[in-house]
């Protein structure tokens, strides 16, 4: 009887030892597998930080301390904009577009979380020569109703003037010729031409544009998040190739295709890149 009990205990011990060993081995196997992936990854992550600058320094909002190329004293209250179709170009011409259809990001100076975009995609490792994106949302995707929730919903561009969404709302004030602090809504989006009676001449005009950032090389390393910065330099909206005079264009330009065109041309070099 005692012999049997002894045997039974010994078997129990053996049994539990085997179970423990099996568990340990499976855990080791799983962890090793993960480690192998981490040690030899083919992809990494990308974090894009959005910055707002004026004249080479971080923007100070709501303070009338800036002078644009036209000599207008101005302040910026807030800015909201979309970028979309972000494309990463590799040496040799291969390119990767982030997230296809839902490739857009909303940036709002009043929502700090929007200033950091942790890109969902796994990005192939390697050296990238440059980065480009669409300012606003390209016309094939810029469709009314695309955003059902706020804050993106607040960017709606009325259907009667083209629909979809604002590319950007840049709100501020300038000291006009009468020294009045006048408000401006530098709002960019789909443009319109009008006939002599004020009726819209179709089709609407896609004023969104592609931005290719110069000197925007970076490296994606395996299993690592790479940080890059995209900076909007406010003064450049008013600077080149066209000098944009707020006294001339006035406070609202959503229905002024002339102003939209000038702004779009200036927008090509509004952004800069840093690591």
């Amino acid at each position: 009887m005692q012999k049997f009990i002894f045997k039974s205990i010994a078997m129990k011990k053996l049994f539990f030892t085997l179970i423990l060993a099996a568990t340990y081995l499976s855990l080791t196997f799983v962890s090793c597998k993960k480690t192998v992936v981490n040690n030899d990854p083919t992809t990494g992550k990308l974090q894009i930080n959005f910055q707002n600058y004026v004249d080479g320094s971080p923007a100070i909002f709501d303070t009338m301390i800036y002078i644009n190329a036209a000599g207008n004293h101005y302040l910026v209250s807030d800015v909201q904009y979309f970028i979309s179709d972000v494309t990463l170009y590799k040496h040799g011409g291969n390119s990767t577009m982030i997230k296809g259809w839902v490739d857009y990001h909303y940036i709002d100076s009043q929502i700090p979380s929007s200033l950091v975009w942790n890109v969902y995609d796994d990005i192939n490792i390697g050296d990238y020569d440059s980065l480009a994106f669409h300012f606003g949302i390209s016309s094939d995707k810029n469709i009314t109703g695309m955003f059902v929730n706020f804050p993106e919903k607040d960017m709606s561009w009325p259907d009667v003037i083209g629909g979809g969404y604002h590319y950007m709302k840049l709100n501020g004030k300038w000291l006009d010729v009468n020294n009045i602090k006048a408000g401006f809504g530098f709002h960019l989006g789909i443009g319109q031409n009008y006939d002599s009676l004020g009726n819209v001449i179709l089709p609407f005009i896609d004023n969104s544009f592609r931005v290719s950032l110069p000197s925007s090389s970076f490296t994606i390393s395996g299993g690592v998040t790479t940080n890059i910065n995209i900076r909007m330099n406010f003064e450049k909206w008013f600077k080149e190739p066209n000098i944009y005079d707020l006294n001339y264009w006035g406070g609202g330009i959503m229905q002024n295709q002339g102003a939209q065109k000038v702004a779009a041309e200036n927008g090509w070099n509004v952004f800069s890149f840093s690591k």
């Binding site: 209250s77 109703g145 059902v148 919903k153 709606s156 009468n178 006048a182 406070g251 959503m254």
Partner: protein, 367 residues
């Protein structure tokens, strides 16, 4: 042998005790039925993100209780003093749950700082209630309203005591929240549930969006004026057909005044210089029913409001940048002609939802 026999006796006693206790009837277990989830339907075109607190989900029983409380003037805790007051005393269904007369007057005869805001589609409010966004939830708003001298001028002790004395309420609280013990928190939660359940989505504009109605020419022209910068430019602050809430729920100094006392405005909440004289852009849903207008009720009619935005804007350095039509000497508003004003008004009237003001689910009810 003797010891074995003791063991046996002990074992027998143990078994007997076991049998005795197992045969004893279990005490009755009180089971409280869990409240039934409320089916909150999001209308077509409305945002899918709703602001329903995780700690106060809508339930059928909670909404029903809140409905009764909303209309119960014992909510002041002072009905026995002849000073009964309920939410519905100032938030009348016929006026889209606004009072339709201007500032509210509390049980002490003291006026509220500002006019009422309507209770409508508040499930979509992002957490900035009242004209200055000073309350982060409906519940928080209710906490304050009970003790404010210009509103209920009461104490929560009195309110809880008054409602606890109503025979039907303990069972209703139990059905909604699992306890018969009435508290300040549960009163606020129940009313919060009812108010969040109040949805308006059947105006002419909604019908247009659903393809059930076509605007008249005047209404369509009004919509164009509403949604264009060269027109009346209302949409930047009040939304547009693609935002059927008809508000951004944001705060703007809309150029009503040249000087400000800082009382009750957004600045009083944020301390941000740019919020001086700024108030919430209220929803324009049922705007026809919610006059007088502006935070202080200075305009009695929609015509006065339209005239103000057409030629009455007042310059100050605090006016929001979007109010760029005020730029003396060039302009003091949208400069609409009489036909445009009529068209704009015709569109605003398309935001009236009569089914909301007659919806029996929100109608007067009492115990």
């Amino acid at each position: 042998m003797k010891s074995i026999s003791h063991k046996k006796v002990f074992l027998l006693l143990l078994i007997a005790t076991n049998i005795f206790y197992s045969c004893k009837k279990d005490p009755p277990v009180t089971t409280i039925k869990a409240p039934t989830p409320y089916n909150f339907v999001i209308p077509k075109g409305f945002p899918t993100n709703v602001n329903i607190p995780a700690n106060n989900p809508l339930t059928v029983e909670g909404v029903k209780l809140g409905h009764y409380l909303y209309y119960d003037d014992r909510l002041s805790g002072r009905a026995d003093e002849g000073k009964g007051l309920s939410c519905s005393s100032c938030h009348k269904q016929i006026n889209s749950f606004e009072n339709g007369t201007g500032k509210g007057i509390g049980v002490m005869g003291i006026e509220t700082d500002n006019v009422m805001l309507p209770h409508i589609n508040l499930a979509w409010n992002p957490g900035t209630f009242a004209w200055n966004g000073g309350a982060s939830s409906i519940e928080e708003d209710i906490y304050g309203a009970i003790t404010l001298q210009s509103e209920f001028a009461s104490t929560w002790e009195k309110v809880v005591a008054a409602l606890s004395a109503v025979p039907e309420y303990p069972a209703m609280f139990e059905a909604a929240f699992g306890t018969k013990v009435i508290s300040k928190e549960l009163i606020a939660k129940a009313i919060g549930q009812f108010v969040r359940s109040m949805v308006s989505s059947d105006s002419k504009l909604d019908k247009v969006l659903r393809g059930e109605y076509n605007f008249t020419n005047s209404e369509r022209n009004g919509m164009v004026l509403f949604t264009t910068e060269s027109g009346a430019d209302c949409f930047h602050c009040h939304g547009q057909p693609s935002n059927p809430l008809m508000t951004t729920n944001l705060f703007y100094n809309n150029a009503k005044d040249s000087s400000f006392n800082g009382i009750g405005d957004r600045y009083s909440v944020t301390g941000n210089h740019n919020d001086i004289g700024a108030y919430k852009a209220p929803t324009l849903r049922n705007v026809e029913l919610t006059g007088p207008y502006m935070h202080d009720g200075r305009f009695k009619t929609l015509d006065e409001v339209i005239n103000f935005y057409s030629e009455g804007l007042v310059y100050s350095e605090y006016a929001h940048p979007l109010m760029h039509k005020v730029r003396p000497p060039y302009g003091h508003g949208a400069a609409l002609n009489p036909q445009q004003k009529a068209d704009l008004k015709a569109f605003l009237l398309c935001l009236t939802d009569t089914s909301y003001i007659h919806n029996p689910n929100y109608a007067k009810i009492h115990l």
